[in-house]
Symmetry: C2
Subunit: 349 residues, 2 copies
């Protein structure tokens, strides 16, 4: 059992309670409670007087006590793989904004992309009696089903890594977006296009891979298994993957990377090898991280509407909380952003 405890030494002095306001205003505590929540059951002037006194005394209602009494806390829990990931940060931004607009506060915790830790964090959210939970890149999608039924606490997954296993989610249209990106390369005249995937077998990777293959197929281009390499989702992995491509008898003229961080590594490693992007090799990423526009050359990539996805997740949660049988799985389209890392292949290659 993991209970939330701390050996705090300092005991704060009692804070003002509703009863203190009551005696000051010479009414009962019930009336104060009602006045403070603008109940029509209390006369206008009485309410105003009470509100005035409360304000003056610097009274802050305890959300804790209210939560206990009402059985809901106006809080939601957000679990992310890591906060430092710029991709994730924007999603959080979208969630927090929408949450705040509706009077909700958000608990933030990171799972370090570790399923065990993810579960632990969610448990701690349960103990905190959050009203809802949003999880990005969940590693354990299916495990939330019992939680939904047992605890009746709605959960929305963003870019769930095990789709089809859970009811409420917001996803990017991986297949379509990556097909579009690959089509873009094909339209430029590329025929030898490498795919840089991920080594952990995530759903997002395999869907993007499928889109890549679909585009090749519809263009009548052969699929060449040696053109598929794997990274770790970070730039280091991208660099290592390029080395495998460099060892090939014939270099691909373009590389489609399943995310921007990998693409950054690709860019760097190609430059190290004395190759110029896009003259020698074209590179496409996926995500449209903030830095994609600042790297050299600015990266052609697929934009995920990260902020919007956060908002959508929170909106789904809100309608779920309002009792709606909300839409099950929301898919948002990606958008191809063409910058300067792609160009037609050189004639001689």
């Amino acid at each position: 059992m993991n209970t939330i405890r701390t050996a705090s030494v300092c005991s704060k002095p009692r804070q003002l309670s509703i009863r203190d306001i009551a005696t000051a205003a010479e009414v009962s505590h019930s009336t104060v409670s009602r006045a403070l929540q603008h109940s029509p059951l209390v006369k206008r002037e009485t309410a105003e007087k009470i509100q005035h006194i409360a304000e003056e005394m610097g009274y802050r209602a305890s959300a804790i006590a209210r939560g206990l009494a009402t059985n809901h806390t106006s809080t939601i829990g957000v679990v992310v793989t890591t906060i430092a990931d710029p991709f994730v940060a924007e999603i959080i931004g979208g969630i927090e904004e929408t949450a705040n607009d509706h009077g909700y506060s958000v608990f933030l915790a990171n799972s370090n992309a570790d399923s065990e830790r993810e579960i632990k964090v969610v448990h701690s959210f349960e103990e905190r009696r959050v009203d809802g939970i949003v999880v990005t890149s969940s590693r354990v999608g299916a495990l939330y089903t019992p939680m939904l039924s047992r605890m009746h606490i709605p959960i929305v997954l963003i870019n769930n890594q095990h789709p089809g296993e859970f009811v409420h989610s917001v996803m990017i249209a991986n297949l379509e977006a990556s097909r579009d990106a690959t089509r873009h390369l094909i339209a430029l005249g590329h025929k030898r296009i490498a795919y840089l995937g991920d080594q952990y077998g995530y759903q997002s990777d395999s869907e993007r891979f499928a889109g890549y293959r679909e585009a090749l197929a519809e263009a009548g281009l052969p699929f060449q298994p040696e053109m598929v390499v794997h990274g770790d989702g970070k730039s280091e992995g991208g660099m290592r993957a390029v080395e495998k491509l460099l060892a090939l008898p014939q270099l691909p003229t373009a590389v489609f990377c399943y995310n921007d961080m990998s693409a950054l590594g690709v860019l760097r490693r190609l430059q190290l090898a004395g190759l110029e992007v896009p003259r020698d090799v074209s590179v496409v990423g996926f995500d449209d991280l903030f830095l994609a526009q600042f790297c050299h050359p600015p990266l052609t990539t697929v934009r995920q509407p990260k902020r919007r996805m956060g908002q959508l997740a929170m909106e789904t949660l809100l309608s779920l909380l309002a009792g709606a049988e909300s839409e099950e799985n929301i898919t948002v389209p990606g958008e191809l952003i063409v910058r300067e890392s792609t160009a037609p292949p050189r004639e001689d290659r």
Copy 2:
């Protein structure tokens, strides 16, 4: 009065309480409470039996109820200017990690760098009865003093924009770091060094400016007011500021930017003007954002130990919570990271 409310329709079913476990285990609720917090007042086997039953029934203690009873919640509130800022994201990472290690959960909210909103957010944290608060780039430092005494809730500021006005803070050594950065340029042989500051008059800007002047002075270089321009902290502002420098009769050979985002704009605008960095102009930033190593050319900059600063802030909070009269103001040194955006000036300039 801003009370936290929502018109949630769905009323969750009652969850398991300590009493349910008590009847199942045929003991009193007090014993369950004690067993669950590993009190020595209950016999080992009884405790284990209770823990087992609780586990089996999927019981989750209510942190809400506990918070009400104990008068502390094991939560802290973090207010940031904006979550999407990569600078801030890393700080949050440091805070969250340390908090979590000590059994604290963190509430996250953003102030949009708006002082009014900052206060609102802090109020909502008060209502939630957080045990402590961390604020980054506070706009209202001094206002927290009454809060400290009235509410007895410790507050730590990170990079407070009104230093000297508040007791607990973690700050980067702006002056020293920017002096070092300027010295680096001087050592390379630069004599006409521009300073790109901020237009809002933040403390961090003026301290960095002071460091710049100090370095000039100690090298016996004249301070030239026309070499000082102002941006908005973002790349757009950096670009606009460069235009003023381009209009000068003689271009500076180096630009020291008070943050990386501005420097990115400088890089871009100089390239647009057909100038090459660092051959024609050297550029130095401040922050060492993640993307500083990926831009073109990789940016020489001052690293702020962002994650560490978050940790330090949280550690300060923890010792404050433990009743210690913790160190008042912590200053951490910046570190100059020399990359490829700086070089000796061209002979002919």
